[in-house]
Amino acid sequence: MTAAGVGPDAGAVSPAGQGRPPGRLAGLALVSLERSRQLTGPVAGVAAAVILFLLLQSDNFTSTLVVDMLVYAIAAMALDFLGGYTGLISLGQAGILGVGAYGVAIAEVHFFSPWAAVGISLAVVLALGLALGIVAVRVKGVSFVIITLALGQVLWGLAFQWVGLSEGDNGISVATLPTLGPFDLNDPLTLRMTVLLVFWVVALLLVLMVHSPFGLSLRGVRSNEARLAALGYRTGLHRYLAWVITVFFTGVAGVLYVFVNQLISPSTMDFSANGLFVIMVVLGGLRSIWGPALGAAVIVGFQQELSIYVTRWQTLMGLTLIAVVLFSPGGFWGLVRAAGRRPDALLARLRARQVTRPPPAPASRAPAQQGETR
């Protein structure tokens, strides 16, 4: 999205850059170009918001697909908060999502009202996150992955084997969704808009947190925990809070999942599903929040669309993950960022030329350019 917005800027810049000693007009042009470059992100975001909003208006195949993508995107972004920023990659994400979904379904089976079911589900997810966090954040890196994988498998096992509670392989269907006055989630349009709204709220909260002092110290925990601990930060508590936040948002995605699909069964949270979340985040790009949302859209699209035409789409997906790990560790979002970096470098070069006045001799210009492009 950003890349598309950047293109025209880059084209418009070059005539100003080629030429004569820059005057006032050129200076103004440069400032406005810089402004518009700064605005590409927000503009792309607003464009995405508008497009998503319009796509979800009608009740058709596309809107169903987009809603699915949004639900998975919420959980994928939450996983990025933990995995990308804190360095704790969880392979139990689908399990947590399943807890949120089963929470609603099981509560409704036991005759709780839909709103109460949502409350119970989120409370269970939160309690689970608080409790499991004590165990899970005692370890880091590979051990954390292994433990969350085991956790995810256990949650799947419960859903699969504890037939009395979960109705086993058949899963549980949820017929009635919450209603509040004119706000009725049983109405498909209202439901889609709610999913969209929750998506934006979670995304913006995550972005805010990432850029907050808390988010910065999480990055510190990831890159050099010992140093941060020496500076007096309670790094264990940081990891614990990041885990709880991620678990909670994933539970929210789970609640939305069961509302959208009106069915939750163990296959939603099996090993393959747990792995898919990690694939979404890595393909999309660790440490970008938006990248994993993109990754979720691609994977869900893969799963629901491509699987019709390509029988061996899982092979394709596995190979894609391996290729991304090998060749493009930044994922899709890394490519988007790289696309944005070129106009940035160009603008910076122009700015450097503006600052050094009177127009510098070619000899002194060359090193400055090198410095910028580096």
């Binding site: 004590i134 590979v142 092979t315």
Partner: protein, 288 residues
């Protein structure tokens, strides 16, 4: 009582299969710091290949060897290509082998289909006999698996503790750089250990195929066992793999027998206890 003894034997049989898988997993991690998540898929693939070879040759033992050797070759190839290309980044290796799971599973599904397959043991191994003392009638095949795993466990112990190669591997687990600095060809040791690990997994796949079915998803089940074992026993510790396998095999079997609804969670109890009390595992060293 007879029931309990039979369940204990079942648990130990399962422990045998789990040990063969997790010892390879833990050796690979211990020496190379590679978390090979596709280890379970290697197990399953070895089992499937063994199944096909047995179907073609009507010989269980040729199938057993074929399953083990084919996976050894696969492991060597994997180590020389993907693992080498990734250049020692723990998380990249973990993610790449996660991707590999989807590829291997999908290929296995395309070739062998989704119907669970079982490998039949030949001749006397396929029969049952009455055990002395307790008078329980018990399948010979399970006793065979138990015996084979014990022999391999002892053999590996001998290799690791009493031979030069074993000394190099153990030293490598403790301090890779130092071993390299002493002039030992670390690359060769890596390739050797990785191959040994996948060989054991393929071997376990054929043996396991006789008592546990071969099916899509068997790989993640066996991977969970291996992971539980290394958490309980300690990542990278060979003795830990033996201890962990016995604990996990027994706990899982008792769980399945006596608490079928929550068998998977019963498995998690020792895991949680170990994590709370000794996060590095019962026989593991504190993480570096």
């Amino acid at each position: 009582m007879a029931e309990f003894v039979a369940q204990t034997l079942n648990g130990l049989t399962l422990a045998g299969v789990i040990f063969l898988v997790s010892s390879g997993f833990t050796l690979i991690f211990g020496i190379m710091r590679v978390t090979n998540l596709s280890h379970g898929a290697v197990y399953l693939l070895g089992g499937y290949i063994g199944y096909s070879v047995i179907a073609a040759t009507h010989s269980f033992f040729i199938g057993l060897i074929a399953g083990a050797l084919s996976m050894a070759a696969f492991g060597l190839l994997l180590e020389r290509t993907l693992i080498t290309w990734l250049g020692r980044s723990e998380m990249s290796e973990l993610l790449a082998t996660l991707g590999l799971i989807y590829v291997l599973d999908d290929v296995a599904l395309a070739i062998w289909g989704g119907t669970p397959l079982t490998i039949n043991l030949p001749g006397v191994l396929g029969q049952s006999s009455t055990l002395p003392l307790s008078g329980i009638v018990y399948p010979n095949g399970r006793l065979f698996i138990l015996g084979v795993s014990v022999v391999i466990a002892v053999g590996l112990y001998y290799l690791l503790r009493r031979t030069r190669v074993g000394a190099i591997i153990r030293a490598g687990v403790d301090d890779r750089e130092m071993v390299g600095a002493l002039g030992i060809n670390v690359r060769l040791v890596f390739a050797l250990v990785f191959t040994l690990g996948t060989l054991l997994a393929g071997f376990a796949g054929v043996l396991g195929g006789t008592v546990l079915n071969l099916y899509t998803g068997a790989d993640s089940d066996i991977l969970l066992f291996a992971l539980a074992v290394v958490i309980v026993g300690g990542l990278g510790s060979y003795e830990g793999a033996i201890l962990g396998s016995v604990v996990i095999g027994l706990v899982d079997n008792y769980g399945t027998a006596y608490f079928p609804a929550i068998a998977y969670s019963v498995l998690f109890i020792p895991v949680i206890l170990v994590l709370l009390i000794k996060p590095q595992g019962l026989l593991g060293k504190p993480s570096t």
